[in-house]
Symmetry: C2
């Protein structure tokens, strides 16, 4: 089983459907790293083209890897060890490739898309040994242009209503649980 | 279907297993309200005995209900409408009761407990019309004394490893999805 996760800060939409680069959110880093560690994710990529944001992520990770945080909370240290920062989707795909072989790239969206795969079918692919990279968009979601390099989409997460405004932290947690969580007998 | 959720800030454990009251975290309020709205939760109770913390929660909710936030993001307004602040578990149970009838109180824990119920069985109870109140502890989890009024416990959430350090935001999201999420055919 090999699943990597990428949190994408550019290109994403703002609330007016304009393409922007979003700011990194401290709790995204912690929550997603912890969920990733819980469910056996390999690498947690944080994708942002901005040098100052990359520096910020580096400082946060270093606080919990080598600074006071590492002594204060070893569970957090363990979770944040999975983080790799990268510039853009191009470098993400290069980093996530093994022997030149790109993983199956899947994205999530609050909107319906033509090339959807069910959570059950994706879980089977993962259990069958397929390497998978899951992209999550920040702000109002991944821009259409980011979906060009994506092989398939997971369906939107919903209850019985049509409210689809989960935080990316919640969406990642639920997607990882659906794909990798231990199932009850 | 009627499910309420409570985020408990006292009594909870700190990392040394001492009983403390934790501080309210802004993103807990937002993430849990949004997940609750997505999955059809009725009321999202925020339980804290501290007046200053109650005031803070009131200000955040009011910003998104009546202030600038309400105009900026109506989806957020809708989610935060479900919030009710209360002092302690005693008042929580009084508020959550209907005609003097207490709901089935269930808690989550990263530890195993004797009176566990499976997610599947709890989902069936909810679908069958049983009113349910789910307690989530902040910090290092609900103190043992808080479990006295609890009818049953959900099992810990895990992947195939033994790392159990999800954020409460992630735990709430996953629990609501498991109990109330739309299942694929």
């Amino acid at each position: 089983m090999h699943v990597d996760v990428a949190l994408v800060h550019y290109p994403v939409y703002n609330k007016n459907q304009e393409i922007i680069g979003s700011a990194v959110t401290n709790l995204d880093i912690h929550d997603i790293a912890r969920a990733g560690r819980t469910f056996g994710v390999g690498t947690f990529y944080i994708v942002t083209p901005y040098q100052d944001q990359q520096k910020l992520v580096g400082e946060i990770v270093s606080h919990w890897q080598e600074g006071y945080g590492a002594r204060y909370n070893t569970d957090r240290k363990e979770a944040l060890a999975s983080i790799v920062i990268c510039d853009d989707l191009q470098s993400l795909y290069e980093l996530a490739a093994v022997n030149g072989q790109k993983p199956l790239v899947v994205a999530t969206s609050a909107r319906e898309h033509a090339k959807n795969i069910s959570f059950g079918a994706m879980r089977q692919k993962i259990l069958g040994g397929r390497r998978v990279l899951i992209l999550f968009g920040t702000a109002w979601g991944l821009a259409e242009q980011a979906l060009a390099g994506v092989d398939t989409m997971l369906p939107p997460i919903s209850g019985d209503g049509d409210y689809r405004h989960l935080s990316v932290r919640s969406a990642v947690s639920i997607v990882l649980d659906r794909l990798l969580g231990l199932r009850e007998e």
